[in-house]
Symmetry: C2
Subunit: 334 residues, 2 copies
């Protein structure tokens, strides 16, 4: 018994299907995630998957499923989901809905993936709104930030649930027994921020979660908490800013080094890139729906795909959705 299937949208992402297939192969290798190939359900253009796998050295025993349509990166999510009922992402979600798989991994159109999963799987009983969580590895300790954009105008109880759902995830998958939850705000003192944040602060304080209070933008790098709760607008701005700033700043430094004739060793460069790359933890996780949903970056390479698959296996094996349901039903969370 290898555990429930992980459905991979082979057609999604800038370099699909090559990067996704290579990623699936990598995830099965010893040294990497070592996922048994028969646990991966590869969904996409079946003849194309078959011929490409043959070129890449053969199919190690994946489950394949045909999908006749593809939602492109530039498609309008809502329109595309209606117009392309047989898309690879819709078929991945359907496999989870039907109980054949427990997780979806998609690198394609983020909006379409969130929409397909939310509509197709529905929210976990008790969950008001799903949220997108991203785990960073900046300081050597995993830091999970949510919401990254599923819900740009949340209510206070949504923010409370983000804290609760991310705590379940951090406990089950990141080895954090008592994850500390911070609320992103403009000052540390209680009473800071908008009415929404004041209300969320009250709710989090009496939630039974390990709430450490307000945290500021700079605290993300200070290790003061394991989970940062924020609205999807701020989270989205912060994530895009961090991604781009790290690349920009690293490029600037490498340029200065080159001019000065100095060099970073390849291993030092790798470690720096790793620390700023959330794809080293997998992808973004859509928390709150009835199933594990990992959304990779459109630019994911094979390594990022393999990491996203490994993350899906961890979340599936930790039964994150079931634990969220139990957690939200517990009296201390109500």
């Amino acid at each position: 018994m290898t555990g429930p299937l992980i459905a991979l949208d082979v057609m999604g992402g800038d370099d699909a299907p090559l990067a996704t297939l290579k990623g699936a192969l990598l995830a099965c290798k010893a040294g990497a995630a070592r996922i048994p190939p028969e646990r991966l359900l590869l969904v996409g253009d079946q003849p194309r998957m078959r011929s490409m796998l043959a070129e890449l050295g053969g199919d190690p025993g994946f489950q394949l499923e045909h999908a006749a349509q593809v939602i492109e990166m530039g498609d309008s999510p809502a329109q595309a989901l209606r117009a392309k009922p047989d898309s690879s992402i819709a078929r991945c979600v359907a496999a989870v809905k039907a109980g054949r798989a427990s997780a979806v991994v998609g690198m394609g159109n983020t909006g379409a993936c969130v929409g397909a999963a939310t509509l197709g799987l529905g929210t976990i009983p008790g969950v008001r709104r799903p949220g997108i969580a991203v785990t960073l590895n900046l300081t050597g300790q995993p830091l999970t930030i949510l919401d990254m954009g599923a819900n740009i105008a949340p209510k206070a109880d949504h923010l409370l649930q983000y804290g609760a759902m991310a705590s379940v995830y951090a406990q089950g998958c990141l080895g954090q027994a008592k994850p500390r939850v911070g609320l992103l705000n403009v000052g540390e003192e209680k009473g800071k921020g908008t009415d929404l944040l004041k209300e969320a602060h009250e709710l989090l304080e009496s939630s039974g979660l390990e709430f450490v209070g307000n945290v500021e933008g700079g605290d993300i790098f200070r290790g003061v908490c394991d989970i940062v709760v924020t609205d999807g607008f701020t989270g989205n701005v912060v994530l895009k800013l961090l991604e781009q700033f790290a690349q920009f700043f690293l490029g600037k430094i490498l340029g200065e080094l080159e001019r000065g004739g100095a060099k970073l060793s390849p291993s030092a460069l790798g470690s720096l890139k790793h620390s700023i790359d959330y794809q080293s933890y997998g992808g973004a996780l859509l928390l709150g729906v009835n199933g594990v949903v990992v959304i990779g970056h459109g630019r994911s390479d094979e390594r990022a795909v393999a990491n996203a698959l490994a993350q899906a296996v961890r979340a599936s094996d930790a039964r994150v959705p079931e634990r969220i349901e139990r957690g939200l039903a517990a009296p201390s969370r109500s």
Copy 2:
């Protein structure tokens, strides 16, 4: 004639009054801002300023004004402003209010500085809410972001006015003839974001400003605009995050370099630090009040104080408040 006085709160800031006095001296030196000393109104504990200036090599001809009280960094702004009517920051503001000075420069308690200036000077006719602007030098082109926290729950017409006020500043002080204004949002397409942002987008589009549409978190480093308009909550999070991330990441890289036996040249390190340090442009500028108000970081060293004084001179000589009033009264802005 040397132009109107610039009032410096000598007592404000972590290293005051030493750092502020050194900064005032530096700002008068050839090579630096070269402000005539008689143009600087130094406000604080007069005996202490006199003895410290003597120790630092003598008073080059500053105007001194005594203030018996100091608002400390940890004071509650509203309470402290009531309890300490003779504070150095209140006296600086009073000098502008009385027409003896045109600008205030303070490195102390930010909330107290914003509160004293807003209440003491009042808003420019037509301005709905003041906003705090910070200019960064990340890409070699100045980038002004506002609001950085004066107004954490703005309305759409406040955001419009932020774009208009920052455009006046960029034209008058940063040499940007047609500053391009972007609206910070979660996607580039029109129609993205909260209702507030959709409304602000409409207003900016028909404003006569050089509006380039929505920009995302990562665009801050791409040179797609000269001004980024956002609400004070997001702006505050972004500013603190950028400050801290740059320091954190640079520290990480220097560590990796050291381990590898490589080194950044002092000039390369200086240029990197300069690019991420908004204090190289001065301080934060409170736009929308009847006077020039520059708010420096509490940790400002003498160089940062000198830069803030130079920025105040530029904004005063460019008559930024008067230009904002004319700009907001012009038909294309209404």
